[in-house]
């Protein structure tokens, strides 16, 4: 009770030095528990406390800005989208994704990644952009790294990096289509180093889509694999899922 009276008195007196310290500890994070919640409420209601906290936020802010960036996994954005979506669009997004639930190991990751696409409106496109096949390629730690979508007649595909990719300057990433064990993998071309790109698939390779089972990305010398040599290590792999044509 004594403590509460002291705080009351300090509030009444607007003891600048005291409140500046409390605001500083609030922003620093060492003000915890009830004291933190109490200051939070004061801050919301009263410009005096709000200004004190604002000042400390600008003073200490550059510290956090100095941290390097770490890309969060794509599911985070998907979940944020779901939470901020008004019910009208939220239902629509899920409806479009329900058909994914039927197949594949990576259905959840797939749905999440697709949601990003749908959410940012990238699925609309030129003629015959109907989605036919999808693959999520994961790295050794099973973390989703690339989203690959195949459109229309199989000649067009989009590759999207889901994480930052580091490739040495003198190397290239090459994408391979794998059908059945024993059959030679076919190159689908070189991958971008970041971001999203549309690749055109050679006609004779596009014919193989119905039998394709896995996509893989290998690390090759700059410019890609040289015939007659062994391919480099497979850095990313993932099964290919076909999209049912029911809608």
């Amino acid at each position: 009770m004594g403590r509460y009276k002291v705080i009351k008195r300090r509030m009444a007196k607007r003891d600048d030095e005291y409140w500046r310290r409390i605001a500083g500890e609030y922003v620093l994070g060492t003000l915890r528990g009830r004291a933190r919640r109490r200051f939070e409420r004061l801050r919301e209601r009263d410009a005096y406390y709000c200004n004190m906290a604002d000042e400390w936020e600008s003073r200490l802010g550059p510290l956090a800005e100095s941290l390097p960036e770490t890309d969060p996994p794509p599911e985070v954005w998907a979940r944020i989208s779901l939470r901020i979506d008004a019910p009208k669009t939220g239902a629509g997004l899920w409806d479009r994704l329900v058909f994914w639930r039927g197949f594949g190991l990576a259905a959840a990751a797939l749905a999440a990644s697709l949601l990003i696409f749908v959410a940012v409106g990238q699925l609309s496109g030129p003629p015959d952009s109907t989605l036919r096949r999808v693959a999520i390629l994961t790295d050794k730690s099973k973390s989703a790294s690339w989203l690959i979508t195949v459109m229309g007649d199989g000649r067009r595909m989009n590759v999207t990096a889901l994480q930052p990719v580091t490739v040495p300057k003198d190397r290239s990433l090459e994408l391979w289509l794998i059908t059945i064990p024993g059959e030679t993998p076919r190159s689908l071309g070189l991958m971008p180093r970041a971001g999203r790109r549309m690749l055109t698939v050679p006609r004779e390779v596009a014919r193989l889509w119905p039998r394709a089972t896995v996509l893989a990305i290998t690390l090759e010398p700059a410019g890609g694999w040289k015939p007659g040599t062994k391919t480099g290590p497979a850095l990313y792999t993932g099964p290919i899922g076909a999209v049912p044509r029911n809608n």
């Binding site: 922003v27 620093l28 994070g29 003073r59 802010g61 954005w77 901020i84």
Partner: protein
């Protein structure tokens, strides 16, 4: 600008805001929570708060990034308390980079003029009080955790923090104390 757009519930702008800032905010959350799962949760909550409260962002008070970082840090601090997490064993190793007063990653990252001023003022502090400030800020350590982590009495930590904050304010407002 992006935050203004978010305030008007512009989804595409909000997606751009996320793309431009999520990497930094995720680092902030990871640093405090030390677990990817919890950091993802904090990050989600932070952006949902940003979406709902974008209107409360006041450009006159600071940069958008400062505001976003603040939202994420407070959310992470709150989750950290609730999760009753232990201090990770590798805290010193990871932290060495940040407390190192010699030119290093911190110096390199803090190139902006405000950042440079803050860095200079942090260097004015003595080693242990500075470490306490940085551990509290980046790792979300409480007074009690700082005391046991740094093996000093609680009262010492409290006075370090109190004096360091006051010195930082003085230094940032008036420049570092010159002379010897």
């Amino acid at each position: 600008m992006l935050i203004a757009a978010a305030a008007k519930e512009d989804r595409a702008a909000f997606a751009r805001l996320y793309q431009a800032s999520a990497g930094k905010l995720f680092s902030v959350c990871l640093s405090i929570l030390g677990s990817r799962a919890l950091a993802e949760e904090a990050l989600q909550d932070a952006y949902v708060n940003v979406w709902r409260n974008a209107g409360s962002f006041d450009p006159a008070k600071g940069t958008a990034m400062t505001w976003l970082i603040t939202v994420a840090r407070y959310r992470a601090l709150s989750l950290r308390r609730n999760s009753g997490r232990e201090i990770p064993a590798d805290i010193e190793a990871k932290f060495a980079d940040l407390s190192d007063p010699a030119p290093g990653p911190l110096a390199e990252a803090m190139r902006g003029s405000e950042a440079a001023a803050l860095r200079n003022c942090l260097e004015e502090l003595e080693g242990q009080p500075r470490e306490a400030i940085l551990l509290a800020y980046f790792r979300g350590l409480t007074h009690q955790e700082l005391a046991s982590h740094m093996s000093v009495p609680l009262g010492t930590v409290k006075s370090w923090i109190r004096r360091s904050l006051s010195r930082l304010k003085g230094c940032l407002d008036h420049g570092p104390v010159q002379g010897d």
